[in-house]
Point group: C2
Chain length 248, copies 2
DNA sequence: CCGGATTTGTGCGTATGTATT
DNA sequence: GAATACATACGCACAAATCCG
């Protein structure tokens, strides 16, 4: 347990565990327990140094460690702040972006960047189980929660079945609603594959993040109730902002 | 379709899609279809330029794009090589590392880096549903397939129930087998959460990758048949080498 | 707009214990 | 056992950014 206000928090010296690790653990404990709320400022480094009875350097090592794992962020002149915990994003058979956000008390909105009719390349053809060269609708979208960009998606839909879906999506801001207008009242996830890589410059621009930031790449295929593949999507989530949760 | 040997592969000029994108698509198609095998060398840039009737610069743009998405890797003086496709790693209720690897025709081996008895910190306590400070066994392991490091794991197990499991694991090289020795013949996945971030220096060393490379971080909790939490694991997969597949 | 106070960022020097060679 | 390297920790000083009266 960590002293809330108290003058000193004892460390086990010379016991195998480095002082800075113990400090990092203590602060992490303060964060996950809620004693340090998300968005709040941690005590200044000097104050922490006093509390643990160590040099400021030692505190700084603990803080840089916590910053690397994304729990805090330091700003020169301002202080060190507790980062908001990433949004839990469920990966289930019936995950609907808008419903997920609604439950989290956030307002979801999909924004259509552009759409085009193209011939299926190898990847799209395989995902949708159509011939290479078959006509497909390609949509590029950004998904936001309360205005902050969470993911950038590239979606392929078979044509002519879903001709005009881009217009519907642009108006509704939700795939589920757009599908509904075209008579698809239900759909489910057929497959989900996950990888990760740094953001390329174009992606970084679209998501308003610095290039090179880590993206979680989720490739998924959706089918209608009859089992027909109706959608292949590659979503690139800002790894800092979401945590994917496997549902069963 | 791409000409296997043929002299020229036609591009659609002035049709909205840049030449280099079409070339990238064509080469990608060669790769995913298997016409260009993993590990093999692509034709030299000059040869590709002839085949598509473009300047070598245009081919290079396509190849850089493919390199960024991890499909190929160029080596000065040697050529451009098709990267091995990432290993599909299923995330299911009953995923067993050794079984997954066996099915993929690879030899799995877990290597114990070190183990220690510690007091549960906030994270471990929450995952195992024990009190903060309760005794737990912490194991650090590297999992390899055919010798190449796939993941680095930190595992927490409640004590005293699993006292000595580290010794068993070190000998067997498999958690499943070690559990079996302690009377746990079955277990299943309770929860799985996925995030991603760059590798820290220590992690990079353990996995023999350059620091900063992207890691897929999978946090999971396993329970025994009675539903009691027996293991909390944080696995860090080299994102280049695996693709997580959600099973249902 | 100034100027001081606060807070993080950076650099140097020193010392100690541990592990490797 | 000696030499070397590395991780850890402390102390001091100043720079840079921010805040506030």
């Amino acid at each position: 347990m960590t002293a809330a206000q108290g003058r000193l928090d004892p460390l086990v010296r010379g016991g195998g565990m480095a002082a800075w690790r113990q400090i990092a653990d203590a602060i992490e404990s303060d964060i996950v327990s809620g004693r340090l709320a998300a968005g709040s400022r941690t005590p200044p480094e000097m104050q922490l140094a006093e509390r643990f009875g160590v040099n400021r350097h030692t505190v700084r090592r603990a803080l840089t460690h916590l910053a690397q794992s994304g729990l805090v962020r330091s700003a020169q002149g301002k202080g060190t702040f507790v980062e908001p915990r990433p949004l839990a994003y469920p990966l289930g058979e019936k995950t609907r972006f808008s419903e997920v956000m609604a439950k989290a008390g956030k307002e979801a909105r999909g924004e259509l960047l552009f759409a085009q009719h193209i011939s299926a390349n190898a990847e799209a053809a395989e995902a949708l189980a159509v011939e290479i060269g078959a006509p497909v609708l390609e949509m590029h979208t950004v998904n936001r929660a309360d205005g902050v960009a969470l993911s950038l998606s590239r979606t392929w839909l078979p044509l002519p079945r879903f001709s005009g879906l881009d217009q519907l999506f642009a108006r509704k801001g939700s795939l589920t609603k757009a599908y509904s207008k075209l008579g698809v009242d239900d759909y489910r996830r057929l497959s989900t594959r996950i990888s990760a890589r740094p953001a390329e410059p174009e992606e970084a621009t679209a998501l308003a993040i610095p290039p090179g930031k880590t993206l979680l790449v989720v490739k998924s295929v959706n089918v209608d109730p009859a089992g027909v593949r109706i959608q292949a999507t590659q979503s690139r989530f800002v790894a800092d902002r979401v945590e994917l949760v496997v549902e069963r």
